[in-house]
């Protein structure tokens, strides 16, 4: 079905839409963005700012994102804040979309942008009720239907239940870059890093480039030889969507063998965890927001951080663990629920965090981790 547009019409005139969860609960509202149908995993994001970054974060691939903040689109869409080449969410759920955006950087409305990219959304529903439902029942499959896609709810529920789930999904290959590319260092070049794109956001290589790193962004399928072909001072494992249990760990293990400085974030943290022999598991409803308190166990300090993860690493908090690459310990935990948020090897220059130090959107508290990475590469040289 081709998505048609709701452009130029106020929310109140938009056609009816319905959201159906796989457990049968449904919400009726109005179409937002494209009209049509879409499926995905229903997740909620609690950030009050940064919708443009959220929409373009590849980690949201195949997910229908529910915004808990009621007003969305107030600052329109600009040319600077997108985090990748397109919107990745498979559906968008908001309560009160803006009619008129206001920002000196705004170029177009969010409604137009969603429509142009064919993203089906729904507005005007009780997003808090939906969020509470997901919190209690856990993330689940969902469908949004409007226009010609509308049908009786039993039919719609059937369609939702046929859609694929997130557990066991291999999605890196769907979001990664097709060709390698280079993000040059800003100012004097100090290091070269091979960054494996599992769903990388634009801000991540930028944060490294700011620190004098030339970043070679490589496709998820890059082999160990291809990684070392760029003669990297360090290797970076990006964030990304999907179940980490599906990932091929050959490259990660190869880097560990060679003791090259390694920094992983989000999906990259899960890959490191699995390569070290830890398990990963799916959280009930994940961490998605920009207000999560994470404690750095080495300093005791708390940082407010940006999260977007549905899976987590299963590692003991109370002790270091034996791994094939030496002792490993949990360096960071989320204070809300004690989820593992960071790992490091005690004897190799290797660490990772489950969250987003590049923080777009979100607070910049964790930016120091890029300095830590630079320091590892510096130390390795010495």
């Amino acid at each position: 079905m081709t998505p048609s547009s709701t452009r130029g019409t106020a929310r109140r005139q938009a056609p009816p839409a319905v959201l159906v969860l796989e457990d049968g609960r449904s919400f009726r509202g109005r179409a937002y963005g494209a009209v049509g149908e879409t499926f995905g995993e229903a997740v909620f994001s609690t950030g009050m700012s940064g919708y443009q970054e959220t929409l373009t974060d590849p980690s949201y691939h195949r997910q229908v994102v529910v915004m808990t903040a009621p007003h969305v689109g107030n600052t329109g869409v600009n040319d600077e804040d997108r985090e990748s080449r397109k919107i990745w969410v498979s559906g968008y759920v908001v309560r009160d979309p803006a009619r008129t955006p206001s920002s000196w950087r705004s170029r177009r409305t969010l409604d137009d942008e969603l429509t142009e990219q064919g993203v089906v959304g729904i507005s005007g529903i009780d997003t808090r009720a939906l969020t509470r439902h997901l919190r209690e029942r856990g993330a689940m499959r969902v469908g949004i239907f409007s226009g010609d896609a509308l049908a009786d709810e039993t039919t719609l529920l059937g369609r939702v239940r046929q859609a694929p789930g997130m557990t066991g999904a291999e999605l890196s290959s769907e979001v990664t870059t097709a060709e390698p590319y280079v993000v040059p260092a800003i100012g004097e070049k100090r290091f070269t890093v091979a960054a494996i794109d599992l769903g990388i956001k634009g801000m991540t290589p930028h944060r490294m480039a700011e620190r004098g790193i030339e970043v070679h962004v490589l496709p998820a399928t890059a082999t160990l030889d291809e990684v070392y072909a760029v003669d990297p001072d360090g290797v970076f494992l990006a964030n990304g969507p999907g179940d980490p249990a599906t990932a091929d760990l050959t490259v990660v293990k190869g880097v560990l063998e060679r003791s090259t400085p390694l920094f992983g974030i989000c999906f990259g943290n899960q890959l490191l965890g699995r390569a070290l022999g830890f398990g990963t598991y799916k959280l009930k409803y994940g961490h998605r927001g920009i207000n999560q308190p994470v404690q750095d166990r080495t300093t005791g300090k708390v940082e407010v951080t940006a999260h977007n993860h549905g899976f987590a690493v299963d590692a003991p908090l109370d002790r270091a663990s034996e791994t094939p690459y030496g002792l490993a310990e949990v360096t960071h935990v989320c204070l809300n629920d004690d989820v593992v948020e960071g790992l490091r090897l005690l004897d190799r220059p290797v660490f990772s965090v489950q969250y987003h130090p590049e923080a777009a959107a979100g607070p910049h508290d964790a930016a120091y981790l890029f300095d830590r990475f630079t320091q590892l590469m510096e130390d390795q040289r010495a």
Partner: protein, 1103 residues
């Protein structure tokens, strides 16, 4: 790092009387802090001169000193209590300034008291404008963002004039250093403006310093509330965006949380700058507030200022997010870190996070310009509002419209009906920020203005402007619809329209709209404020309504009592009523009820989520209250609704609630009517054989003249159906009567003018009493210092009465009982009497908690509001005596002879207002109430208690120096003895010629000084006004004759306000002041805690 164990006792400084810019929010924050510190096991010593606060309840601290907040008195307390630490960041600017004085004077070092919560260096860096600019510069160097507006610091008028050139011309902003609520600041568009504002500012600033700044008028304005712990963890609790762009004090702006029109990039810049500033300033632990201006053209960010303490905005942010800033600040001050403190609301997650909102909060200010007709009502960088209402909705329009109707004043809601008016004129008017500007903007929209035109005229952000258009479009739809469908109704309710607004648009009655709406099943649900946008389950039932899908009110089993609060603070209805509501909640919770509080005032203790079992942060209109009653009735049994503790607001709803089948407990709506309706009340008095002053009503001058001729001048005239003495005046002759009727716009056949005989030279008496249907408990008898004719809220008073004898009390008791019985009171009643020529007249009766309940309760150590709440639910006085809530025998009418004397003094907002020429407003007291707050002085004798009340309200009485006396003819006799006393105390007297002559004839020497109207003398002899400005006068006595005109005394009194010289405007106040001066000169003014007073009183009662 856990709690510090090296300190055991902490002195907390409160904020003193409610004044503009420093209001009930500090009662909220101080109460939270004291409770937390006690719970942590510290001995808490509190000083606050404001009796109307919860924080000065004896059970909140271990030792509560209701004493003046001056360095001298705080030192006395330190000497007596020897606290280990001093916490001064929760009592506003007053507490902070006092702490700095104590530090600078070496007092803290001398007694080994550690300042906790903020260090002196940080306070100075944050508050001193020059040093703060360095802070901002350093921040910019470190993180590349943030700058100060270009500015120059000036210490003289020459500096100021030169400064304008440096900044590139007018307009410029003038900001005096170290003043509170932005006092004395403003925009200067011309040199004349500049001389006036900067001249005043130099005078107001304790360091004679003002800052001139480039104008950033019209920029977007934001605030961040931050907290930092000693481990350097920093969180942003809340972002606030001002609807009104730069140019209006944030206290006077409509504000919105969270920020609505920033991208994440820009928001993170503000956050980074805010965190860098708090670090650079060095606020080690606690909260602070930082204000930013953002250029809407290019995003340039200017850091305006920071408050290194808990502020009004912190209270707002706490209520808006559910993150209790003051409570957490207190914990941080004693050593905890954010991650060690649990989030009260989720109980499972720590406080080291940033709240995220799934709703929108709007705060609107409430002004009182009608009380100060001469004052310039244009809004500037000086705060002028006296209160605020906050509302929560699931979107901006819902929150905004709820907040506007929470203001409870005619015309506060958008009026989208009728002839819109002239667009161009409306747009021009909208360009000037004033009270109600948003309504003008809406009228302009209705009149056809485009979004661009609105933006050009007001610089209000286009997103907000569009929201106003959305409201207007919905109104059009409602007006044009063939019928009210469920879809349309639900839609407009989702955008905050009240039933009354819909009724207006449809030409229906409000109750008809409500019936239709209920029939169609369109009702609100209640959502929870949970700090985390539903990510975690909330344990705290803090609710707001929304026309959304899912209701979160949980079923309950215990019977609920719904307590209606008092809404936004305003003159005449302030924190005193919140006090009574909070007490009712505590007492009824203890008595086994589930207490449900309804209020919309973010500054209060009642809207703290842990005061009551459930909190509904909702407007106090009939519609909103009925929906809450409905929701609670669905949840479980409802024992009743209490309307008599929140002042006139809930009282006014009583009858309508009853008509809608809601059980109103306590005094019945019919009984309320008996007391409130003049005719009905007259019959009650008649039956009881009690006299009232002669009176009549008229709708024209001839009618009024006939009444006045019959009852004799002076007469007290006022429009009917007004509150707080609005428009009330004492008229001494026919000419003025004619003028009054002429000027009054509120008189019509429907709204007659009331003409009462004015009892000249009468003693006014206030009585608070409890009545259960059979037994009267006389709570307290207050004798006013000022004569009848001055609004009781503005008059000082003493308890126990200082000149009434046993016979008078007996008569008062009998009259009070007769009225309480005649009216049918079940709970509290307040009666005002006037004793004239040995006749006890009844002036009025209010069948509700009065403004004086907290004062009476503290002065007599009896919790009257708690008792009233219990009586409302059926308890008897006898039962409460048996329980110990009331004394076993005796009452407030027969206090032992050695009971302490308590004096209440009103605090006036004169210094806040200027007329449009920039001159001060007159300070004469009258029948219309204009005070914003009160203080209490308590001691064993009247003189000392009065002196303390003056020190608490206005600064210490002088004990020597020069006194200037100028009194009206009618006061000349009563002036002689006090004047002689002043001389005996070594004062040099100055007087105007007429007064000097009378003094001379009585053997008292006084130097004649020139009146202002006489101008400077031939040899440069200065006028009295010049002498005041030159700081050569220590005490002023000036009683005016009549009111209204620009009398000679006007310049004297405004000069007194500007120079903060004590100025007495009645002879009664002079007599009291002389007693106070006498007490001070005989030395040995001590301090005594309320707990000690209470135990002595209890002991005396039991003897």
């Amino acid at each position: 790092m856990p709690k510090r164990t090296d300190i055991q006792s902490i002195l907390v400084i409160g904020s003193g009387p409610i004044v503009i810019g420093q209001a009930a929010e500090f009662d909220y924050s101080g109460t939270q802090a004291c409770r937390v510190l006690r719970a942590e096991g510290f001995r808490v010593i509190l000083i606050n001169s404001n009796p109307a606060t919860i924080m000065t309840d004896p059970e909140i601290a271990d030792a509560t000193y209701v004493e003046p907040i001056t360095p001298e008195f705080v030192e006395k307390i330190i000497v007596k209590e020897r606290p280990d630490a001093l916490l001064a960041t929760l009592g506003g600017q007053t507490a902070l300034n006092t702490a700095i004085s104590l530090h600078d004077a070496g007092t803290l070092d001398k007694y080994g008291v550690e300042l906790i919560g903020a260090n002196v260096e940080a306070i100075n860096k944050g508050e001193d404008r020059e040093r703060f600019k360095d802070v901002v510069e350093e921040v910019r160097r470190k993180i590349g963002h943030g700058e100060s507006a270009r500015s120059v610091i000036c210490h003289s008028m020459d500096d100021v004039l030169a400064g304008v050139d440096t900044l590139g011309g007018y307009p410029v902003v003038v900001r005096p250093s170290f003043t509170m609520g932005g006092a004395g600041s403003g925009f200067a568009h011309t040199e004349e403006d500049l001389r006036r504002i900067a001249g005043q500012g130099l005078m107001l600033s304790p360091t004679t310093e003002v800052l001139l700044e480039e104008s950033i008028l019209g920029w977007k304005e934001y605030e961040l509330e931050l907290m930092r712990d000693r481990n350097d963890n920093v969180v942003v609790v809340c972002s606030i965006e001002n609807f009104d762009p730069m140019g209006v004090h944030t206290g006077d702006s409509i504000t919105v949380a969270p920020a609505m029109t920033l991208t994440d990039r820009e928001y993170q810049v503000l956050r980074d700058v805010g965190i860098a500033v708090i670090r650079e300033v060095g606020v080690d632990t606690g909260g602070c507030n930082i204000q930013f201006a953002v250029n809407p053209e290019d995003g340039r960010v200017i850091v305006i200022e920071m408050n290194p303490r808990v502020s009004r905005s912190s209270a707002l942010a706490s209520k808006a997010t559910g993150f209790p800033i003051a409570k957490i600040a207190a914990r941080l001050a004693v050593g905890y870190t954010l991650d060690e403190i649990p989030n009260d609301i989720t109980e499972k997650t720590p406080a080291s996070f940033e709240p995220t909102l799934d709703y929108v909060v709007v705060k609107v200010p409430r002004f009182a310009f009608e009380k100060f007709p001469a004052a310039d009502s244009a809004l500037t960088t000086t705060m002028k509002s006296v209160g605020e209402a906050m509302a929560i909705g699931r979107n901006f329009t819902e929150a905004l419209q709820k907040a506007m109707r929470s203001l409870e004043r005619a015309g506060s809601q958008f009026d989208l009906t009728g002839e819109p008016g002239d667009k161009a004129l409306l747009l021009e008017r909208a360009g000037l920020p004033t009270d109600g500007r948003i309504n003008t903007v809406m009228r302009a929209i209705v009149a056809g203005a485009t979004p661009q035109e609105v933006f050009d005229a007001t610089r209000i952000d286009p997103w907000f402007v569009d929201q106003l258009f959305l409201i207007k479009e919905l109104a059009d739809e409602v007006a044009a619809a063939a019928e009210l469908t469920p879809e349309l109704l639900a839609d407009v309710k989702r955008h905050g329209f009240s039933d009354a607004q819909i009724a207006g648009l449809r030409g229906l009655r409000e109750d008809v709209v409500r019936e239709v709406r209920h029939a169609l099943g369109v009702r609100p649900v209640y959502k929870t404020v949970d700090t985390c946008a539903a990510e975690f389950a909330a344990k705290t039932p803090y609710f707001y309504s929304s026309y959304d899908e899912e209701n979160e009110v949980a079923p309950r089993e215990k019977p609920a009592v719904i307590i209606l609060g008092s809404g936004p603070n305003r003159i005449g209805q302030g924190i005193e009523f919140d006090y009574s509501c909070v007490h009712a909640s505590f007492a009824l919770h203890d008595a086994g009820y589930e207490t449900v509080m309804v209020n919309c005032n973010p500054e209060t203790v009642s809207t703290d989520y842990d005061t009551s079992d459930r909190l509904y942060f909702e407007p106090l209109t009939l519609e909103d209250v009925l929906e809450i009653v409905h929701a609670e009735t669905q949840a479980g049994p409802v024992a009743g609704v209490i309307v008599q503790l929140g002042g006139q607001t809930p009282l006014g709803l009583a009858q309508a609630l009853k008509d809608n089948g809601v059980p109103v407990v306590g005094t019945s709506p019919e009984a309320i009517h008996l007391a409130e309706d003049r005719g009905a009340f007259g019959r009650v008095l008649e039956e009881a054989g009690l006299p009232a002053p002669k009176h009549g009503t008229a709708t024209s001058f001839p009618g009024a003249k006939a009444i006045a001729d019959e009852i004799g001048y002076p007469v007290l005239v006022r429009p009917s159906y007004v509150l707080g003495g609005r428009g009330m005046e004492i008229v001494y002759d026919e000419t003025r009567l004619a003028a009054y009727i002429e000027e009054s716009t509120e008189i019509s056949p429907d709204r007659p003018v009331l003409v009462d005989r004015f009892l000249d030279d009468a003693i006014e008496i206030d009585v608070d009493a409890l009545y259960d249907g059979t037994e009267l408990y006389l709570g307290g008898v207050m004798e006013h210092i000022e004569e009848a004719g001055i609004h009781s809220g503005d008059s000082a008073c003493a308890l126990p009465p200082i000149t009434l004898g046993g016979y008078d009390i007996k008569r008062l008791r009998a009259s009070t009982e007769a009225i309480a019985r005649g009216v049918g009171v079940r709970g509290l009643i307040n009666i005002q009497f006037a004793l004239a020529g040995d006749i006890l007249y009844v002036l009025e009766a209010n069948p509700r908690a009065s403004r004086t309940v907290p004062f009476t309760s503290k002065a007599t150590a009896v919790p009257l509001a708690k008792a009233a709440a219990r009586i409302s639910l059926g308890a008897t006085v006898a039962q409460l005596r048996a329980e110990g809530m009331l004394p076993a025998r005796g009452d407030g009418g027969d206090l032992p002879l050695d009971a302490p004397i308590s004096v209440k003094e009103a605090v006036m907002p004169w210094s806040r207002f200027r007329d449009i020429q920039g001159r001060g407003v007159d300070t004469v007291l009258g029948p219309e109430m204009r005070s914003t707050g009160e203080v209490m002085g308590i001691d064993s004798v009247f003189g000392t208690a009065y002196a303390k009340s003056q020190a608490g309200a206005y600064g210490p009485l002088p004990t020597k120096g020069r006194a200037f006396i100028s009194v009206a003819n009618r006061d000349k006799r009563s002036m002689i003895f006090p004047a002689r006393e002043l001389v005996a105390h070594g004062f040099e007297l100055l007087a105007t010629s007429g007064t000097a002559e009378v003094l001379k004839r009585n053997g008292i020497n006084a130097t004649v000084v020139r009146k202002q109207s006489e101008g400077e003398g031939p040899n440069g002899e200065r006028t009295v006004v010049q002498l005041i400005h030159d700081g050569e006068i220590d005490l002023i006595v000036n009683t005016p004759y009549g009111t209204g005109g620009r009398l000679d005394g006007y310049d004297i009194r405004t000069a007194a306000v500007a120079r903060a010289v004590p100025c007495l405007t009645t002879v009664q106040a002079l007599a009291a002041a002389v007693q106070g001066i006498d007490a001070l000169n005989h030395g040995g003014v001590g301090v005594c805690s309320l707990q000690d007073h209470a135990s002595r009183l209890t002991a005396a009662r039991e003897d």
